[in-house]
Symmetry: C2
Subunit: 121 residues, 2 copies
């Protein structure tokens, strides 16, 4: 799993406008190879948001940033006057992943049969 998080600082009195613009945007993500999931996350602190997307791998994310879908998606809805600062993009690679079935993956060990399993209690 690869995760891209773009952190936004929104003027607290513009939160409603910020969320509305995102909701009105058309998304072209489902067309994009390697796209897994997107969420717009609202933090507990006023004006704190993250545009959070997960990808099969870093190359899928980088290819998206160079694609027509990226350009079309970002041409919609100006955030001028809504953002208190420049968005901060951070990129992350998973070291461990675990889902609700208890399946645990060490992405640095992609060889079949090398998945870690947890002891049963």
């Amino acid at each position: 799993m690869f995760a891209a998080m773009n952190r936004f600082r929104v003027y607290p009195d513009r939160e409603g406008d910020f969320e509305r613009i995102w909701k009105e945007r058309q998304s072209f993500l489902k067309e994009v190879p390697g796209f897994v999931q997107f969420a717009l996350l609202r933090g507990d602190d006023a004006g704190d948001y993250i545009s959070h997307s997960t990808w099969a791998d870093r190359d899928s994310f980088l290819a998206w940033t160079r694609s027509e879908a990226f350009v079309r998606g970002h041409a919609q809805g100006s955030l001028q006057g809504i953002l208190a600062s420049t968005p901060q993009l951070s990129l992350f690679s998973a070291v461990i992943e675990e889902d609700a079935s208890g399946r645990r993956i060490d992405p640095s060990q992609p060889v079949p049969g090398r998945r870690m399993s947890l002891p049963e209690h």
Copy 2:
């Protein structure tokens, strides 16, 4: 979707130890109601990590922090001498969610049939 992110600043020369301790920890998360997914994420910047978990809702996360599974999980592996600063916990609620099928959810509109659908191109 509810997300809890605990951000760690690790001394760059202790990254290997930090990752090893996480990999050796037993996880008790699969026993926890409302748990969806966990990932230990490594940032592009040296020493930047996030312990990233997602939950059905905030109440599931809060119940976990008060549970025996939480105490057992956190009693393993000391990070003393490895962390350059105190971990910073941030909590987030999803405003929009979208998966690779193009299904888009506005969690503030949980009424059946109110899911937003995207136009086909």
